[in-house]
């Protein structure tokens, strides 16, 4: 494949040069130009497999996988009699290619194409943080927690395994990466008889191919994480016709987008609860486990249709009105067939519908004052997902009856659980609107002051189901100055304040509102009762609200540009952000962020340019974590 590609590219370059040279020989004057580049790249030491996630300039570069690679590039520009042709290309490896081309016919028809392909080296998670388990050494293949005592010395070592968090990497030696290719084409038609009309058609093709590490829970759910390698092959096709029309002071544009996302990814599946002799776990799984392997890491095919209309009216030299409307529908195409355990709803598609309307009025009152008024409305309507799950019930006699723990666990008969269908409404459902204004005042020559205010309200339909606020109101204030003292010195100052009423928080997210320990006293001894599961003992103990979003934000920024000498240019910037959320239980959430930098460009001689810069970044978050500690 690689040799074929190199040969084809060489042939294209050679033909382009030969053709252009031949035509040039027939004509006086040079109407074309170009450049051909031939060379090679050598890497003294290739990256090895265990450096799959290597950083430092190698994350997006496949050349480090090979010792020698080709360097073949070139460009050609030609223009004659209203016909223009342009090509630029570079081939360095199968996964390192860039090409662009342009053909124009008297500017009536313009065709532009771009292709690029690169490799993204992905990490391999060795899951070392999932080893907090205590198993006897006889359980080969499972690592012991490093700081645990030597279990061989513990009496009854087989029974101490109460803290069971562990992992299984089914492909520990693999390394991962995805090659991403994108091909964009655009053709424009400018109708000579209708000078204000322009028709265009865009097409975009994207492909992702390679291997990535995927994970799933296992028989013990979140306490046992299993990973494996999945072969990835995903494609996206966008088709987008567009029409633009300008009549006098009116301009409008209508466009349509159809997107198809298709996957040919490897089907991943895993046999859950595969331990022989431990079938008693079967009745505690929520999935149907009667058919053996169960799927995981499946990505649904999807499509999107979007319509956009834009409108602009230049009312006069001082006033302009613009507006646009966007309707889009995204569809999950993998759920309208037979039942799929991972995709939730079946027999019907899942759609996400959205309407967006934007409008803006700009007015320049005089040389000193101008202002904008703007607004935005958006609504989202997402289908609910229906989920089937197994619900365990108490066997006859429980709770509090004569069913012992052993009897309850061993009871795997169908009568001990039933299938329940749950409808999960979307957290996206709702609407939001924004209204705002900004005013610019030119105080004097070189000094501008801007003031802005924006109000946003977001309303959520299914807030009760998702334990979040019904609505969020945001007030945003902005004050900025742009001061050019003279030709050599300029300052920009910007201050923003945001006040958010009922910021997005997750209610009942963690322990208790005062941050105290929630101590679970343990299971009732002796008798089986399914209702003593996590819900009453763990989840219902979480009553405090938490968030990592602020209810107040202060942000201040200063920039300067100074040219002390004609050979020296300097710049300085500093930004400070303080955000906090006091609308959560327990300790307030806070953020302190500082970013500062300075730089300069020195040109001591005509043929020498020196530049240098320094940037400092400090970001600190103050959060409260209430970590649940599970025992077995």
């Amino acid at each position: 494949m690689r040799k074929i590609t190199v040969c084809m590219l060489t042939a294209i370059f050679a033909l382009a040069i030969a053709g252009a040279t031949a035509v040039c020989a027939e004509e006086d004057g040079k109407w074309y130009s170009g450049e051909l580049k031939v060379g090679a790249t050598v890497v003294p030491e290739k990256l090895s497999g265990d450096e799959s996630g290597a950083k430092g300039g190698t994350e997006y570069n496949s050349l480090f996988n090979k010792r020698w690679t080709t360097y073949l590039g070139g460009n050609l520009d030609a223009m004659k009699d209203g016909f223009a042709f342009s090509f630029d290309g570079l081939y360095r490896d199968v996964d390192e290619q860039d090409y662009s081309g342009l053909v124009s016919l008297k500017r009536v028809i313009n065709f532009k194409t771009d292709y690029s392909r690169f490799y993204h080296r992905l990490d391999h998670d060795y899951m070392e943080n999932l080893n907090a388990h205590v198993f006897p050494p006889a359980s080969t293949g499972w690592k012991n927690w490093g700081s645990s005592p030597d279990l061989a010395d513990i009496p009854g070592g087989k029974t101490v395994g109460s803290a069971n968090v562990y992992n299984t990497d089914l492909d520990p030696d693999n390394f991962y990466g995805i090659a991403r290719a994108e091909w964009k084409n655009k053709v424009d038609f400018n109708i000579p008889m209708l000078p204000g009309l322009k028709l265009s058609f865009n097409h975009r093709f994207e492909e992702r191919k390679g291997d990535k590490q995927v994970m799933t829970n296992s028989k013990c759910l979140a306490c046992h994480v299993v990973s494996n390698t999945q072969n990835i092959h995903e494609t996206t096709n966008d088709y987008a016709p567009k029409a633009s029309l300008r009549i006098g002071t009116l301009a409008m544009e209508f466009s349509y987008l159809h997107r198809e996302f298709e996957t040919r990814n490897e089907d991943m599946s895993l046999v859950y609860n595969g331990i022989k002799g431990k079938e008693l776990f079967l009745n505690r799984l929520q999935y149907d486990n009667t058919t053996g392997e169960l799927p995981y890491s499946r990505t649904p095919d999807s499509s999107k249709d979007s319509f956009k209309g834009k409108f602009r009216w230049d009312i006069n030299a001082h006033n302009t009105f613009t507006a646009n409307y966007i309707y889009s529908q995204s569809t999950n195409n993998s759920v309208d067939g037979a039942y799929d355990i991972l995709m939730g709803k079946y027999g019907d598609e899942i759609n996400l519908d959205s309407n967006i309307f934007n409008a803006k009025f700009h007015s320049r009152i005089n040389r000193a004052f101008s202002f904008n008024l703007f607004g935005r409305y958006q609504d989202l309507d997402n289908d609910a997902v229906d989920i089937e799950k197994n619900v365990r019930t108490n066997p006859a006699g429980a709770p509090g009856g004569a069913v012992t723990l052993s009897e309850g666990y061993i009871n795997n008969s169908g009568s001990s659980y039933f299938e329940e269908e749950e409808s999960r409404p979307s957290g996206y459902d709702g609407n939001a609107y924004i209204i705002g204004t900004d005013l610019t005042w030119r105080v004097m020559r070189g000094l501008k002051v801007k003031f802005g205010y924006e109000f946003e309200r977001e309303k959520r339909d299914n807030y009760e189901h998702h334990h979040v606020p019904e609505s969020t109101k945001e007030h945003k204030f902005n004050l900025a100055t742009d001061w050019r003292i003279n030709h050599n010195l300029k300052f920009d100052f910007d201050y923003k304040f945001e006040y958010i009423d009922d910021p997005y928080v997750l209610k009942d997210a963690e322990c208790t509102p005062d941050g105290a320990y929630g101590v679970y006293s343990g299971l009732p001894a002796g008798l089986y009762d399914v209702d003593r599961a996590y819900a009453p003992a763990i989840y219902d103990e979480r009553t405090a609200a938490r968030s990592n979003l602020p209810d107040q934000v202060h942000e201040i920024q200063l920039k300067s540009h100074w040219h002390p000498l004609h050979i020296l240019s300097t710049n300085f910037h500093v930004k400070y952000r303080y955000a906090k959320n006091g609308d959560v239980d327990g300790r307030d959430w806070k953020q302190n962020m500082v970013m500062a930098g300075l730089g300069g460009i020195l040109t001591p001689m005509k043929n020498l340019v020196l530049s240098a810069g320094y940037t400092y970044m400090y970001d600190k978050y103050d959060s409260q974590y209430c970590i649940a500690l599970y025992d077995g």
Partner: protein, 138 residues
């Protein structure tokens, strides 16, 4: 608890035309990054009366008198520590002859030193690359 990240970045660049048709350029970028959790600590809290969790293992490890104690998780904050240095260095030269033929040579050095590897293993690497090509303008 607090989570803090801090980064210093320095970059320098020089371009020099030795002759009208011969130029050299170099670029150096250095980044020093840190990240860590502070003030995360658990008071000792262990189950009592549980035959498994409260097992006396002091004979094996005097620092762990109980098999299971929340205080054993102190030190967990180290898992989130970041400490890395990154250097990107490039130097190159370009020479063009009167007949349209040009020579280009570039050297690249990428250095990443990961002093606190954890979940993804040691991501440190040192890689070099030499790229050269002949060009012809027409």
């Amino acid at each position: 608890m607090d989570y803090r990240t801090e980064a210093h970045t320095i970059n320098a660049n020089a371009e020099y035309a030795l002759l009208p048709n011969w130029s050299i350029s170099t670029n150096l970028a250095f980044t020093l990054g840190h990240g860590n959790i502070t003030d995360l600590s658990y008071d000792s809290m262990y189950p009592t009366g549980d035959a498994k969790l409260d097992l006396d293992v002091s004979a094996v490890n005097p620092d762990m008198p109980h098999l299971y104690d929340v205080a054993y998780l102190n030190g967990m904050d180290k898992y989130s520590d970041l400490d890395y240095r990154e250097v990107d260095f490039t130097v190159g030269t370009s020479y063009r002859m009167d007949n349209g033929i040009g020579l280009n040579l570039n050297y690249y050095l990428y250095y990443f030193d990961d002093d606190d590897p954890y979940v993804y293993g040691d991501q440190g690497s040192t890689t070099q690359m030499l790229m050269g090509y002949v060009s012809y303008r027409f």
